[in-house]
């Protein structure tokens, strides 16, 4: 289809090969069948290892940024609009040519060029709008600026078009955030709007989730899979956050310029949301076997604990941390053993080996573990001149 920048067969071939490899490991396919599936689904695109993609991304950003700087050398720096248009066009042309000629598929350079194009176009839109609106609102990018929708609506259209064509995850995330910002902006101008804001945002994210689910039935699922996952995760998160007591209370204080947050209307309802939404997410995740719901559920559960502790700290933090640690360790050990043989459709055995994460795990330990053991008592002082760069580890 002309709408899609990348060959849709690539996404399908990738998903098919992954599924077939998994089935072969389970003994459901013979090696000969796997080979013939591989032969009929060739991966003839360029998408290197993640670290290489990062490097390509960095260098493409650097190069195209410097190239835009080069434009502005020829006396064009006075004409910001011209530089924007030229840079956006340049990035877009290089993007399309490189996808066609080098068969790039979310390989780093194409991501970078897409973001560059959209960045320049967004700058163009904002700059044009700022020329058109009254001077008082010109340089204010606060979410409450009444002229902001003038810029946000074209940008949203731009991002949606880009998602349809390039199926990029980050762009779909930005499009979703602009959609939320738009609703926030429109409602925040009136008192009644501000009162209804949490409910409106919950409704908006639920509607977005439903729309994504509906659209998913009718379009190329393989091509847009990653975008759908991102949109699902974001709408679940925003739904939770707009009902979260802490977010609503502190947000209310910010919106009304209050120095300190005070009790909000419907407090009990928001407490109910804070507690029940994570539980509901995890429950749905375990029933429907949906990892996105599970991860968002666990993260929101952690944030709910933080929310409740923020206003009602029952125990001092160190005791709470110790008890929580014991509970979590005990629960994890119990669950790992209990689900070692699959029960209730759940298992604690890994689905497939992930060698990369095993290697990187040691770096995570290096980053997090030592800081946990570093006590910072006010009464205890370093004895000698050893405090040099001791930092976040085991020096006392």
């Amino acid at each position: 289809m002309i709408l899609k920048a990348y060959n849709p067969a690539w996404a399908r071939a990738k998903a098919t090969r992954e599924a077939a490899a998994r089935w072969q490991k389970q003994g459901l396919l013979s090696p000969a069948q796997l080979d013939s599936i591989y032969a009929t689904h060739p991966l003839d695109y360029y998408r290197p290892h993640i670290f290489l993609r990062i490097a390509l991304f960095i260098f493409t950003c650097l190069g195209s940024g410097a190239a835009s700087g080069f434009f502005s050398l020829f006396g064009l720096s006075n004409y910001f609009l011209v530089v924007c248009v030229l840079s956006a066009l340049g990035c877009l042309v290089v993007l399309e040519i490189s996808i066609k000629s080098s068969r790039l598929y979310h390989a780093g350079p194409d991501n970078a060029l897409l973001y560059m194009t959209l960045g320049w176009l967004t700058a163009l839109v904002f700059y044009s709008v700022s020329l058109a609106v009254p001077a008082a609102f010109r340089n204010s990018f606060s979410p409450g600026n009444p002229f902001l929708p003038l810029a946000l609506i074209p940008v949203l259209g731009l991002l949606v078009a880009a998602v349809v064509r390039y199926a990029d995850r980050l762009v779909s995330a930005f499009a979703f955030m602009i959609y939320i910002l738009l609703i926030f902006n429109i409602l925040s101008h009136s008192t009644i709007g501000r009162l209804l804001l949490p409910f409106a945002l919950m409704l908006a994210s639920a509607a977005a989730y439903y729309a994504v689910w509906k659209v998913m039935q009718h379009v190329d699922r393989f091509y847009y899979q990653a975008c759908f996952t991102v949109l699902k995760a974001l709408s679940l998160s925003v739904f939770y956050l707009s009902g979260n007591y802490l977010v609503v209370r502190e947000g209310n204080a910010l919106l009304n310029d209050m120095p300190a947050s005070t009790q909000i209307p419907f407090a009990a309802l928001f407490y109910f949301f804070t507690v029940s939404i994570p539980v509901a997410y995890v429950y749905v995740a375990l029933r429907k076997h949906d990892r996105v719901w599970l991860l968002i559920g666990l993260l929101s559960a952690a944030f709910s604990c933080y929310t409740i502790r923020f206003y009602h700290s029952i125990l001092p933090p160190e005791i709470a941390a110790t008890i929580a640690g014991v509970v979590l360790i005990a629960f994890a050990i119990w669950a790992l053993r209990y689900l070692h043989t699959p029960r209730h459709g759940l298992t604690s055995v890994a689905e497939g080996e992930e060698p990369l994460s095993f290697s990187l795990e040691s770096l995570v330990v290096a980053q997090t573990a030592p800081s946990a053991s570093q006590p910072e008592p006010a009464s205890f002082q370093f004895g000698g001149g050893h405090s040099g760069g001791g930092g976040a580890d085991s020096s006392y």
Partner: protein, 322 residues
């Protein structure tokens, strides 16, 4: 479900028999949902919270609780962790030992964290090591190295390496290596480079001699990062130091080594590190040696990045098949 769509597609292409399609479809709909990584994360989070909470708790209640009670409780917990790990250990080998399981692995980690808590407490309360702070840091480093090799545990190995680094006064954890160390002022640059080089050497030897060769990644990633940050900091520093004068060739040499190593082991992380640090040093040298007018600057970046991107797109040939 996506898998149904794939199955229909494969059957239509004649790659699967209808019976097989039904069997696989049934498998996809009934297979259990794996909670492996989620539970591991919960376990690790619990360990971090527990050891962190206990550490703070001890310092706050130094005078209220009986010291012997605290020492006994933590020692007991630590001993239980180590005992559990010992009970599930596999015999020592220089190869990669079979993983003992998630729980023994993480309890060993908890044991090590508790050891740090206990040692810190003993030092604070009884001044066990007096003013020999070096010894207080060196003992856990030595113990953790031994445990890491005995139990074949990369997490404990990285704790040993961070302890070793803090013995010299450096912070080596991936993120705090950037934020905590102040190479510009502290004069630690030389020590950091030497330690980094030593760690890289250890990694290289373990790879070459086949002594726990899967440890090489941890040694090399932590060591090369430390050495390269320290030399790059010396390179960009305005103060003339001995390290600063040899910094540029040293960065280029280390980057070259990493790229060569990436080629040998098909590791893209080291290729990335080598390329980024090497590019910084090369750019610095270029503008040091040539006139740094703005025209040259704007031409330099598009041109060099274009060359690098071309090189990377050919990286399959550089790194070899993964």
């Amino acid at each position: 479900m996506v898998s149904d769509e794939i199955l229909i597609d494969l059957q239509a292409k004649g790659l699967l028999s209808p019976e097989q399609t039904a069997v696989i479809g049934n498998y996809e709909h009934t297979r259990p949902f794996s909670l492996h990584y989620e539970l591991r994360t919960v376990l690790y989070l619990g360990i971090v919270l527990l050891s962190g909470g206990l550490g703070v708790l001890l310092y706050q209640h130094l005078d209220d609780i009986g010291h012997s009670v605290i020492v006994a409780a933590i020692s007991g917990l630590m001993a239980a962790c180590f005992a559990y790990a010992v009970r599930h250990q596999s015999p020592f080998t220089w190869e990669q030992a079979p993983r003992a399981g998630v729980v023994p692995d993480y309890l060993l980690l908890l044991g090590c964290l508790l050891f740090l808590t206990l040692e810190g407490y003993l030092q604070a309360q009884y001044e066990l090591f007096g003013t020999r702070y070096g010894l207080a840091v060196f003992i856990p480093a030595a113990l953790f190295f031994w445990l890491a090799y005995r139990f074949d545990h990369r997490g404990v190995l990285s704790m040993a390496i961070t302890a070793l680094a803090s013995w010299i006064g450096l912070s080596i954890a991936p993120l705090s290596a950037f934020t905590e160390n102040n190479f510009f002022r502290s004069g630690l640059g030389g020590a950091a480079v030497l330690l980094g080089l030593a760690l890289m050497g250890a990694g290289f030897v373990s790879e070459q001699r086949n002594l726990k060769r899967h440890f090489a990644f941890t040694y090399l990633s932590l060591g090369s990062n430390l050495a390269l940050i320290a030399t790059t900091a010396a390179l960009l520093s305005s103060e003339p130091t001995l390290l600063g004068t040899i910094a540029a060739p040293l960065v280029l040499l280390l980057s070259g080594f990493l790229i060569w190593y990436a080629r040998r082991t098909h590791s893209y992380l080291f290729l990335l590190m080598g390329a980024v640090y090497g590019y910084i040093a090369f750019t610095y040298l270029f503008f040091k040696l040539f006139d740094s007018s703005s025209e040259l600057l704007t031409l330099y970046f598009p041109f060099t990045t274009f060359v690098i991107i071309l090189l990377f797109v050919k990286a399959k040939e550089i790194v070899g098949k993964p």
